[in-house]
């Protein structure tokens, strides 16, 4: 199973820092994922520091694997200081540790209860309560659940459940019940919605019901979706040994997922070996990037180095929805969970002409960097094969 995870946030209005903090990390070797959402007391910089400390420390504790997640959370709960003025703890948190088989351990302290949806029905998991020995008003909830394909978990900060509080229509705010209704309606409409879109939807809806659409608290929503992975392949650069062209072209053809080609020579190679003509988009793109081409059975065909370099730039800066070849490649990559890069090691001598702009980088380096960004920033499973 693949875990599609994303978190979306908005800050309290008039603040310049997020008071909620979300952190997640994949551990490909152990086939597991850890995510933590923490809400710091107050808002702005202070809350940011508190939640950031809590979340990152908890993540480090859990990933160390020396103590179980419930113990790690208990230690944090017992040691979080109390705000002098308000007499409540400095931060609240939710954390999840889940493997690819769907075995999940969840701990919560102070945050709204998470929502577990299966076939669009809310599940009611059992939990164990661990009251704090040092603070009377703190109590840890520990869940051990088994997830199935299609399940969704939704974590949020109280900014979501209390959205609209005191306003006109919702005197008590959105509350958990309101959020469940929102989610169920949305999922009825679009059952396959990605975690990115669903978390965005929750945050937008929460903000919309606030008076004047100004968030009165930091709003965060984190969604986990367990589904079959979407696989894709990017074929770029001709193989080092030309006699292997046919072999690699066949491999490309046989691949089941979505396919992209980045590189003019590469596109010609596939076209020749698979006997499929290429047609080029006639849109003119002066001074930007070469236009895309089309080939039967291939989802995207672009030029190589320039497009890849631009794609890398977009991925790093988080620029989406750009209408050019690189923008299309960004979308292609972000719509996938498992990405295989097939990278040809053959060099094009003409690229080393000193008359060329220095933006022309070595293909292997760009792909290596791109793989890292996709893995670290976008939580994709990336593999790179050189040929």
């Amino acid at each position: 199973m693949f875990i599609d995870i994303d978190c979306n946030q908005t800050k309290k209005y008039n603040q310049n820092a997020f008071g909620d903090y979300f952190v997640s990390k994949r551990y490909p070797d152990e086939a597991k994922l850890i995510a933590v959402l923490s809400d710091g007391l107050g808002s702005g910089i202070k809350a940011n520091i508190l939640s950031c400390m809590t979340a990152t420390m908890l993540l480090k504790f859990i990933e160390g694997d020396q103590i179980p997640i419930s113990k790690a959370a208990e230690i944090i709960m017992n040691s979080l200081p109390v705000c002098k003025v308000r007499r409540i703890s400095y931060s609240t948190f939710s954390a999840i540790e889940v493997d690819d088989e769907g075995n999940a351990k969840i701990v919560e302290e102070g945050n709204p209860e998470f929502i577990w949806l299966r076939d669009n029905e809310v599940m009611k998991p059992e939990y164990e309560s661990i009251p704090s020995k040092t603070f009377k008003n703190r109590c840890l909830k520990v869940y051990k659940i088994k997830l199935k394909l299609g399940d969704r978990l939704i974590f949020c900060s109280d900014g979501v459940t209390q959205a609209g509080l005191g306003g006109g229509r919702l005197k008590l705010g959105l509350r958990r019940e309101g959020l469940v209704v929102l989610l169920q309606d949305k999922l009825k409409e679009t059952p396959d919605i990605s975690s990115t879109e669903l978390s965005q939807y929750i945050v937008n809806q929460a903000r919309n019901i606030e008076t004047d659409r100004l968030a009165k608290d930091d709003i965060s929503a984190c969604v986990l979706y367990f589904r079959e992975p979407r696989e894709s392949m990017v074929f770029t650069g001709p193989p080092y040994h030309q006699q292997k062209d046919a072999e690699y072209a066949k491999m490309f053809d046989a691949f089941k997922g979505k396919k992209a080609i980045a590189g003019g020579t590469t596109a010609n190679l596939i076209s020749r070996e698979l006997n499929r003509p290429i047609t080029m988009d006639t849109t003119i793109s002066i001074g930007k990037l070469p236009a895309c081409s089309f080939m039967e059975g291939v989802d995207l065909v672009t030029e190589g180095i320039l497009t890849l370099t631009k794609t890398m730039e977009y991925l790093e800066s988080g620029t989406y929805d750009i209408d050019n070849a690189a923008g299309k490649l960004v979308k292609f990559l972000l719509d996938s969970d498992r990405i295989l890069f097939m990278v040809g090691a053959k060099l094009n001598q003409a690229h080393y002409d000193p008359a060329l702009p220095i933006e022309i980088e070595i293909r292997k380096n760009i792909i290596k960097k791109m793989g890292k960004v996709l893995q670290d920033k976008y939580f994709k499973q990336v593999s790179i094969q050189y040929m």
Binding site: G263, G264, T265, A267, N268, I278, M280, D281, T282, I284, S285, I286, G287, K288, P290, A291, S293, V301, E303, G304, I305, L306, N348, Q349, A350, H351, D353, A355, L356, P357, E359, I360
Partner: protein, 85 residues
């Protein structure tokens, strides 16, 4: 029926950075000038830069079978004119 002249502008990496991005205006201007006697299209790569690299003469354009090195709009247009004579 007369055979159309085909003009292929290489939009591979080397050619693109060496100036073929500017040659794309041919896609618009040539049909205006010659009507449907000439067909212009971009191609992903003509594969010429890697053969010719030591004396790279990118950007390349192909007018029928004739290769135009260090192509400019003027060079391409005069090649088309020569073919049409």
């Amino acid at each position: 029926m007369e055979k159309k002249i085909s003009v292929k502008v290489c939009l591979g990496t080397t050619c693109f950075v060496m100036g073929s991005s500017n040659l794309q205006e041919l896609i618009d201007s040539v049909p205006k000038k010659y009507g449907d006697k000439v067909e212009v299209s971009g191609v992903p790569c003509l594969g010429l830069c890697s053969i010719d690299w030591e004396f790279s003469k990118a950007p390349y354009v192909k007018v029928d079978d004739e290769v135009i090195k260090e192509a400019t709009v003027e060079k391409v247009l005069s090649a088309i004119d020569a073919k049409l004579k």
